[in-house]
Symmetry: C2
Subunit: 461 residues, 2 copies
């Protein structure tokens, strides 16, 4: 039984018959071209092949399957050659991209089409690269999903609304294939939500009962076509739990609100200033030019850099309340909120255990006579209280140590070139106004909807 | 082979023949009185009986051994009666005291004499109270210690100089009996120091090889007369390691300095102010009248209270660099050094795990709509950022919460009656000038001596 709000949502996200016909026609034409070449066989994969795409989506994935006897070099050369030729035949607008191996992204008749060469291996256990697995996914889902395509559409829309759709590094959420498998496994959208609302990290789902490896990710969904692979490997515990609470909230108060795209909490310079003054904490932003690479490369580096600088601050005694990072067109920002940004001169430093005579000797020689207090003993260790190296946050961030704090390669390059440190209200700029608003008013996806529901109730009464 | 400095020390701490004669004469007279009573047998115990007392010590322990057939009430009544009578015969100056059971402390001919009634049980396994064990200790040591009394004297003086002599709650160090056993076990003062300089917590010494219980204290020395008892139970890891490093230092640079009493680092009001300004941290002292009870009762309560208030400060987000307490004649002080004494309004609070639906519901109901940020999810838990209850240290210490922070009974009473909170230089008073000096200039016993040795070398050149 579909709830009325679900039917309403389905009416807007289910592709029309006309939409289906158009996309299939485009796909057929391209496949025909691939087959005509005589060197590869064309195959539609992804959500279009499985009938699980959301109306308006313009993505189309077409794989070109080569014989496994073709060498890797030949595959790349001939595959890209064929893809280029097809792109030119249809439109001429295309770019070369790289995943595990290169492919062509072309714009044909308004669609965003990936033309990917891969090997037509006999079974999934014989794949030569990750892309070879995709045709098997498509075949598996096509076989199992009939009758449940609406459930997949609802789940995708629901996950998008929750902000957890996408297995990319920024989202750390649910891939399309994962959504399809979950629907297969639980047997429907409502059935899935009922179970998911009780999820806690540690769930293992093994549809084909062939798990071949111990896995420790928060959610483990063994790939039906590969017993060693976790389809949910890139899902973080945070996203998993956000989805669980979103499901719980929806089941309690079903509403179309749970299918609407989240709205970014853009903030004005004045409001930002007021809010951080109310908090009373200290904000520091490290801002630098965005490296000229795709988000899938920059974002993980940005994350790693944010964690690295956080470690630098914490090693120097500063308590970070929260930190986050954002990659925009022009600039990247790594933002820290600190409880205090000034510490006293004195710093207590741990020394070696007293019973380690050699290290104790070195430690005593280094420190004797030039401390505030110590060396003294607490339990079995030496301690000294000495002059703090960095008594304020500025002095750390402006020191060279930031460059050796574990930055990602391209982030490091950009920071070496130019970096700005902003404090408190200086952190605000138009470019980051949504990121800053989301940061200071951070709420879980469910809470956002609950407050929206409360507001609309208040408005009605 | 004695080092020359050890011989010098021994000359000053070994009791003279005259001193021995005098103390033995007093002991004999009292024992004679006990025996004359016909109800008990007198026995000298403690260091005088074992010939291990340091010249100038005026303590004499005389036990009155009653038949085990006498009831407990009778023992106390008759024992105290006899002790009172003897005290009156000799001097008339005495007080009644309590350990596990009552005894009389008398001043006779300039000596501080404990007259303790106990049971003359047949073997140590049959003791009825802890004091019954003492005669067995004395007999054991008397039998084993011959030829090693000088070693015991050196060890006692060395431990005093290191500040680790005494098994009381303030010192948490080495009891006299423990010193004697260690000498018995290692076979001499130098032999002990050589081993002790390599000690690390976890040493087990079981002279009679009869340990009957797993024990986890830093140093375990099984009582030769009781297989279940650790003679070193009250020795802390800190004191054990301080002794180990002191031994190491002495073996490297033997000197009489290692047998001299430690000098308290009394500090003037001006120096204290300068030193804490240099440190840049915040000092807070809780001061109240000393409860009218013996240190063995007050000190453990004071310790517990200091730990309790420390917990209160840390639970409210304040980082305590170090804390300590001191019991003086008039007042007690609990002293805290904090890195900062002001925190921002905003406080991040941990909520329940998202998968705990019941607690999550309560948490959300409580916090939704009145937070700086959140509820939001990190990993599998909810968090909120809300108004901090106590943004400064004063407001915590002046709140009623201090009374429920785990204070000792008599400390609590005194604090309820009157308490003063002092900040930074206000903490100083003449009464606590040595405690405050020791606190801000804290050093391990070895470091004190090393700096003294360096100074004297500098002075010579």
């Amino acid at each position: 039984m579909r709830l009325s709000c679900e039917n309403t949502v389905l009416r807007s996200i289910r592709p029309s018959e006309e939409e289906r016909m158009i996309i299939r026609a485009v796909a057929d034409e391209i496949i025909c071209e691939v087959n005509k070449s005589g060197i590869a066989t064309g195959m539609v994969v992804g959500s279009v092949a499985r009938d699980t795409w959301v109306s308006g989506d313009k993505d189309l994935d077409i794989f070109m399957l080569f014989s496994p006897e073709v060498s890797r070099e030949e595959l790349e050369e001939k595959g890209l050659g064929l893809a280029r030729q097809i792109s030119k035949t249809f439109s001429g607008v295309f770019v070369e991209k790289y995943a595990e191996h290169p492919y062509i992204n072309a714009n044909i008749r308004g669609f965003d089409i990936d033309l990917v060469p891969c090997y037509a291996v006999e079974s999934a256990s014989m794949i030569k690269s990750a892309v070879d697995r995709t045709p098997f996914h498509t075949r598996y889902i096509k076989e199992k999903i009939s009758g449940h395509t609406d459930d997949v559409l609802l789940l995708k829309q629901f996950s998008k609304a929750c902000g957890v759709y996408g297995s990319d590094q920024m989202t750390e959420g649910f891939a399309g294939y994962l959504c399809e498998l979950l629907i297969c496994y639980y047997g429907g959208f409502t059935e899935l939500l009922e179970e998911a609302s009780k999820w806690r990290p540690g769930i293992v789902i093994d549809i084909e009962k062939h798990q071949a490896k111990e896995l420790t990710e928060p959610l483990v969904v063994i790939d039906p076509v590969d017993p060693c692979r976790n389809v949910a490997a890139s899902l973080s515990a945070t996203r998993m739990c956000e989805f669980a609470e979103f499901a719980r909230g929806y089941l309690k108060n079903p509403s179309e609100i749970y299918f609407e795209a989240p709205v970014s909490k853009e903030i004005s310079s004045e409001d930002f200033k007021t809010m951080i003054e109310d908090r009373g904490s200290s904000f520091y932003a490290v801002v630098f030019k965005t490296p000229g690479l795709i988000p899938d490369i920059v974002v993980p580096q940005l994350r790693r850099s944010a964690i690295g600088i956080n470690g630098l601050l914490e090693r120097n005694g500063f308590v970070v309340n929260r930190f986050d990072c954002s990659m925009k067109e022009e600039n990247c920002m790594i933002l820290y909120e600190l409880l205090v940004d000034q510490l006293p001169n004195v710093e207590k430093r741990e020394g070696p255990p007293v019973w380690n005579a050699e290290n104790s000797d070195k430690f005593l020689k280094k420190h004797i006579g030039n401390t505030f207090a110590g060396p003294y003993i607490e339990n079995e260790r030496y301690y000294v209280e000495i002059e703090r190296k960095y008594p304020d946050v500025y002095s750390i961030l402006l020191s060279g140590e930031i460059l050796s704090s574990g930055l990602g390669k391209h982030v490091r390059k950009s920071i070496e070139n130019e970096m700005n440190i902003y404090k408190d209200e200086e952190c605000w700029s138009k470019e980051f106004s949504d990121f800053l608003g989301d940061f200071v008013m951070k709420k879980s996806p469910l809470i956002e909807r609950m407050m929206k529901q409360t507001e609309s109730l208040n408005f009605q009464t």
